[in-house]
């Protein structure tokens, strides 16, 4: 390209004073002429372009959103909550797949024998508390230190994540229940125990580390299922009406304890 825009026209164009048809010529010429682009660059406020560049770098440095986080934001969850949920270990695909696998095997077992049904019903409520045990704590949570320093109540973080875990595992279990033989009431008998165990674990987590709290609840639960079945010759005893009501009662008590102990939780700087 041998033709170049006259310097005075470039200056008028940069000031916004160039007459329309001349401006058209300049604009048609610039995309393909490195020389004139270089000339005109000197006429633009460099500080302003530097600020825009800083913004660009900031955006390039920002971490990319994972599929979970992006999906939550699309549904209307606020950014910061979505980020916290996205970092929840129990919302990772590997975790959800593991849950689904456990449930598939349990449901398959349940379709064979009554003992299989007991195993399914005993396992299903354990999934959410396993998720909660992993949802918060120095060992498994990648954002644990950030969470401690964040201006957010540790209990609130735990509750947000517990809710997410409860929702996802409940949905998975509900789907698995449909695979049980004959749609019997027992297909939903894990719901109340699930709620009871979750709330008890959370209440205990105000005193103990989350894995310890969830672990002891799980042990007590499995013992009561086993003993209840042995003592009375009725393997589904724990899941009968009395058992369901007990679970509800335990859930209510645990919720009350949790509500009273929110302060002690924060004083200890979260669960450690």
């Amino acid at each position: 390209m041998t033709w170049h825009v006259r310097p005075d026209l470039l200056e008028r164009y940069a000031r916004g004073d160039a007459e329309a048809t001349q401006a058209y010529s300049v604009e048609a010429h610039l995309p393909s002429c490195e020389h004139c682009r270089g000339q005109i660059a000197a006429l633009v406020d460099a500080g302003r372009l530097e600020r825009v560049w800083d913004d660009i770098e900031e955006h390039l440095d920002a971490p990319r959103r994972g599929p979970v986080e992006a999906g939550l934001i699309r549904v209307g969850v606020p950014d910061h909550v979505a980020r916290l949920l996205g970092a929840t270990p129990a919302l990772r695909l590997s975790w959800l797949l593991a849950c689904a696998l456990v449930l598939v095997f349990a449901a398959w077992g349940a379709s064979r024998r009554t003992e299989g049904l007991v195993v399914f019903l005993a396992l299903a409520p354990l999934l959410p508390i396993a998720g909660i045990a992993a949802a918060y704590g120095p060992d498994l949570d990648p954002t644990y230190e950030i969470g401690l320093a964040a201006p957010m109540h540790s209990l609130r973080l735990l509750l947000i994540r517990a809710l997410a875990v409860l929702v996802t595992t409940t949905a998975t279990t509900a789907v698995a229940s449909l695979a049980l033989p004959g749609l019997h009431w027992s297909a939903a008998a894990w719901l109340a125990p699930s709620l009871g165990l979750t709330l008890t674990s959370l209440a205990l987590a105000t005193r103990l580390a989350a894995p310890a709290a969830c672990g002891s609840v799980a042990v007590v639960w499995l013992l009561s299922v086993a003993i209840g079945g042995r003592v009375t010759d009725e393997p589904l005893l724990v899941f009968g009406l009395a058992g369901q009501l007990t679970c509800m009662l335990v859930a209510a008590i645990a919720a009350a304890v949790l509500a009273r102990n929110t302060d002690s939780f924060e004083r200890r700087g979260g669960i450690a």
Partner: protein
Amino acid sequence: MSAERSDVEVLAAVADGDRRALRVLYDRHAPWLALRLARRCADPGVVDETIQDTFMAVWRSAGRYSGQGDVGAWIWGIAIRRLIDALRRLPRAEVLVAEVHDRPCVEEDVLLGVEHGDLGGALSRLSPELRAVVQATVLDGLTSREAGRLLGIPAGTVKTRMMRARAQLREELA
């Protein structure tokens, strides 16, 4: 260091994730983009935002440059569409299309037009509304719909104005 590298080479480096190459491209193209965008949108904040969006898009889709045409023209194609997106997010009243509102002095334009020969003169004698449409569709390469969004008028109006502009130019150049 990279003064000898052509735009195409630099863009290929950007596609490979080289951030310094993006900076080279930015230094070469952001200044004229800023000026050209400013002629289509009077709000410097929107222009800055558009430049930012444009180079973010270049960073992400550098690999999609086909190799046809100037890299500068390719970047401009992204920039003008980002500007339209940015304008769509704004309430209409805040947007001033500089080209339409900044030229009250038609007489001077006509005189200059004579000075610069037939086509330039004929273009200059178009009303500012018709000229804005010619600029958006011919020079910026926008579709009627995109031009309508840029200028804040319906796509149908863009088409009728373009027809009128063409008729007037044909008459004057005949």
